[in-house]
Symmetry: D2
Subunit: 144 residues, 4 copies
């Protein structure tokens, strides 16, 4: 159940437990909280690449969310172990589109929700800024 | 600053205050929390129409979120008064697409984010169910 | 249902709606979220006194929570209107103890939870700092 | 970094990462969210003992929070690894008092906050109910 990038470095799997705080009075996970799960996975990946919040502050950059689309397929329930699977779908000079989905842990066919999240790199004035070269090197891909 | 439906009954304006709990360490509102704002507006509207959570339970129906898309345009900050403006974009037999945006209170041009949220009506087995006729009557529109 | 200080300026009543996001899978409000309700009330009061977050930043002060004690008496449920009633129990040179309780709106006998929250005034180095004189003037009381 | 009970079965250590969602615009963890951290630790422990939410529902019991007291000593910050250390301070026929503290992972001296949380066992009518015998057996202690 440890978080990790696959050998091809194209997929990052982040496991987590659903807690009571994530659920609502319908008995299921509250819809907005799936975005929290997705965010934890992206942050952990970016941290693993050495460009987490501390690095961003030091370089006066910030990775902010530009837009998101999500489909809820099946509900997650309290105390389930789930995994966020993340890939980079598109890499542009100043933005990254992550494709992410949530599945029951170890059950690749039990997809609970799917999302695409566009993250843009901005400077301290919240203006678009080029992603650092080191990002492309670490991610092992060239920008398209 | 009272919530209300416009005369045409096509637009529902829901005001709210941004609280510390809504923000994160970037100093801005945490992205997932914009969905909370949108949800409060929809729930208040549906409650005003007489079909809130209590009504849903009584009728063994539940309005659940099928999918959502959101664009973040400008950040909201702590203690700002904002308004969620909601309209029904599409009304189908078993689903509603809400178009919603968040703006600074009383400033129609200061749009902070825009979303489309598809809500589906399901029965107690989480299977699609027809929206109750009363919904169409109350909303003053016919299904398309 | 408007927030306001009573004539004696000793009690601040803050109304709010319980939303789906506040509840958990037990069907009731999640315990930690009662602290959010209490916080909104204190922030609104302090903002009304002219010493909100913006004022604090300008004066390089911050009101942070030192400690808290809470008793849960009856659960709050989704879509209920509730009120946080706040009084200042103790006012010291660098700290304030708020006594707060949550009740069903307009039903003084239906107390849902009671809390005491100690807030301390700190400077930019997170060191204790004297509460500004203006605070005592606005609150209409002398420090004890 | 795996959660676990110590040999004496008296202490349960639960590690977690601080996420952006846990912080607020002061740059630090939002005070109410420390209760979430404490709750995750208790739930994981109770789940490990075989009496989690599913077990509780099956036995028509619920462990609910009666009261809590917390002291905030030092702030936690985004992306830190922290640990919740939990012990059972008092065990009564129908209630448990947990003493819990949060520390930086692997740094027993860096205590961030300390709490006492009283949990009571209630039946489906939210009336006090005896803790199941199995609880005492599993926890390896007799009620006082």
């Amino acid at each position: 159940m440890a978080a990790g990038i696959s050998q091809e470095q194209l997929e990052f799997v982040y496991p987590l437990r659903v807690h009571i705080e994530d659920t609502d009075c319908t008995g299921l996970v509250f819809h907005a909280n799936y975005f929290n799960f997705m965010e934890r996975a992206r942050s952990e990946w970016i941290e693993n690449l050495g460009m987490g919040i501390a690095w961003q502050k030091e370089h006066e950059l910030l990775f902010v969310i530009h837009s998101a689309a999500i489909q809820f397929l099946k509900p997650a329930r309290v105390h389930e172990y789930v995994e966020v699977v993340s890939v980079i779908k598109t890499l542009k000079p100043a933005s990254i589109i992550f494709a992410q989905h949530l599945r029951l842990a170890g059950q690749p066919d039990k997809i609970l929700c799917k999302a695409e999240i566009k993250v843009v790199c901005v400077d301290k004035n919240i203006q678009p800024a080029a992603l650092p070269e080191t990002f492309y090197e670490k991610i092992g891909r060239i920008k398209t």
